[in-house]
Point group: D2
Chain length 261, copies 4
């Protein structure tokens, strides 16, 4: 009962060669592509130009490490229970990269791509920005990619990423539209709501031609790198048990004292 | 009840700056470090030299993509059930990177580091290789990092990776010892057992100073990149359901026909 | 910097006793509560009546095993790569219990609870059902919990679960509303769309007082049991590698034959 | 290229019926088997006797809830980041059920089954216990299933579980051997090392005929239930963010104060 041909164009192996994305792994990739460029190849089926490489690596690097996030703590707690299965500790940390954190990158990229499916160089972006902000307000939705609870007045990563994009000729209509959306939102809500890191990354991902549905994946792959770093620190200077002990102690104190009374 | 100070040196954020590994993310890292070099920084607390960068990126790139592995299929099946949670699909794929696959890299690196805790340049590696092979034989253990079921007579990635290491001045005692182990094993077992990709990666990781306990992590972070690539292909040209339907159909045929009888 | 008291009422341990949900584990729970009743206690903070126990166990049991689902295959593939970490194989399988599969249970329960926040015994359910179906049609949304691609004309689990609910005095307004929705949908769409297993489970979960946000959790806990069963079969009679080999072989055939030409 | 027949005996579905373990799900299982008995069926291919049911449910129930474990905290942190993917939060928590926690159950069951592959009723268990303890001491291995850091002088779950086993005629040679091992260890190490919960569960799992390789699975399935309970509490009274904020604040204080100086 074959209903459909199964097909994958990614890779295959023969005894004497491995082919990845139509390239010979040993001769055309190893020693020639960096890890970031290999990631770009996975996402676009082509190697990046020098400019694309600079910009793609910058957005991916931004997403590697955010310190002791819930995700990093989940990885460390998991490692504490199963040090023989480090891969499962990284997996546990990745599981939390959902709507609350990396999701806003996807939301921003989706909004931009749906508003500009074919970015025409002569298009007037201002009315599009105004409409998007008005629509979000009407639906009482949060606009993805602007404002930040900690980084005030401005998330320093956003202007830096836009600067790198500009220096590489990749600050195009999606980046401009994202900036206009932030300006319109400031007018509409009467408070400063500058583009944040996820907004800049979402916009730059659009410039690089990544479909919005895979944009979250850049965050997932980058964070996997950071989570391995947290495991290494947890091996050397663990904090998971101490955090667990203190949390348990405080959170169940009312039960214990009741029992003693 | 504080028993221990919790401490992390990895990163922290102030409103106007993010510090990662004692560097200012915006000014010292973004636009300056590639994704692979950022991974090296996570693992070693320093930026790589140009030579270390070339070699580290090469081993990481080798691990990104192995085609339709059990891990990639687990990711695709998971994505089919929860397309709204791509991060969980990558996590599912990573969960299988255990003893059977990436584990051999760790085994090889451990063997090499335990045999050469302080690699003295004048050390005679031959007797060490002989002893290691003899010990593995006596314990009836498989020697990690040599031989391959598909890549015969030789895994083409291993000589290529050693070549890149040599070109960058990083083919040192661990690489030589790994090669000697393969030669001794050939003598001992009477069949060709050349160094394979995981053996070369394990040895090169030792040259780069990575502790063996974290070596598996290089495979985990690299494969996360490849798994995002599989999700992208699964979005566009899915195979998970077809694979599932055929497997179910064949595997339960005896139950169905019994029921009809 | 304490912003908020952390508190958990679930469990605590003293040297001589363990307290779970305000009960002494050894004297009040072990030997007195079955696994299903313990699950009910976790979800409702009380032990079930005999009737609730019968009904809750029935819906949970329904969700344990669906054969070679994508989820079960992800578990088996993961186990093949990391047999030393069975817990990660179960985790991989659970990761796929998203919107496509168990999600419909949650959708049905949410629809019912939002339509009937306080189920008044005298309420006329017919117009509510009509309105819900009309609203779903207007939004072009699929109505959760009705129809089935395989189980035709009727999913046999749904009438059986409603029968068990009725026999235990728990076939109330949510079950009736679910049935009326199916009837209205049949009128509206002109085809048979009877309540399916997830619709019946969603409705019964409402009768038991479970908040819709946790209803998916009944599927997750139940399926964890089934996935352990798949690991046991995979240990004894593996199919993961064979499935992988065949899939890879077919899916990359076009690459291989091109290479040979 | 078919190398091997794929086969699964667990379940299959026809339009009008679902068959699980050779039973009709609707008529033979639903309303007849409780969740715990369904789990027993998954693990043994048969329904339990009343005695087996009582004992199996007791060991499974013991494993459901241990309060704010690292595993429960990983689930809560993951839920905080991806509340739309509850299944991934449970998965994250399960990933940590490795060698440190549930592993000791597996170690105890393995030791018992390897020592008593065919439990002969007339066998003298004392010398076996003595040998096992002597061997562990010689290898400087920890003996699984005895002693406890918190529950002193005795883990109250162990005698309670043995009591339930005895009341149901299932306190056989494995339970006796486990107890003798604890007594021998007390002699050998000169301190009280009574059977703990994992030792009792491991021994009882042997009495029930579960192969040691699947014993960890009882813990995995049971804990999945408890983790859903933690998600429900986290929905209502979250602690993940507060725990994260405090941990981050303390752990990076040295970095912040250095930066200010």
């Amino acid at each position: 009962m074959k209903r459909k041909r199964m097909r994958s164009d990614i890779a295959w192996s023969a005894p004497d060669r491995i082919t990845v994305k139509n390239r010979d792994l040993c001769n055309d990739i190893l020693g020639k592509l960096s890890l970031g460029d290999m990631a770009f190849l996975e996402l676009t089926d082509r190697t990046p130009t020098a400019q694309e490489s600079a910009v793609f690596n910058a957005i991916a690097v931004t997403l590697v490490e955010h310190g002791l996030t819930p995700s990093a703590l989940a990885t460390r707690l998991t490692y504490a229970g199963a040090p023989e299965a480090m891969q499962a500790a990284v997996a546990a940390g990745l599981c939390g990269l959902g709507s609350v954190f990396v999701g806003s990158m996807e939301t921003a990229a989706r909004m931009l791509q749906e508003a500009l499916p074919q970015p025409d160089p002569g298009i007037d972006l201002q009315p599009i920005a105004r409409r998007l902000v008005a629509e979000c307000r009407a639906r009482q939705e949060i606009i993805g990619g602007i404002g930040h609870t900690l980084h005030k007045p401005v998330d320093p990563r956003a202007p830096r990423l836009f600067e790198i994009a500009r220096a590489n000729g990749l600050h195009g209509p999606y980046c401009r539209l994202m900036t206009l959306i932030a300006e319109e939102a400031q007018h509409a809500y009467g408070k400063s709501l500058p583009v944040n890191a996820t907004g800049a990354i979402g916009a730059i991902a659009c410039e690089l031609g990544l479909p919005w549905r895979i944009v979250r994946g850049v965050g997932v792959m980058a964070r996997a790198i950071g989570l391995v770093g947290h495991i290494l620190e947890e091996m050397r200077d663990p904090l998971a048990y101490e955090m667990k002990a203190r949390t348990e102690d405080e959170a169940t104190q009312h039960l214990r004292s009741g029992a003693r009374g």
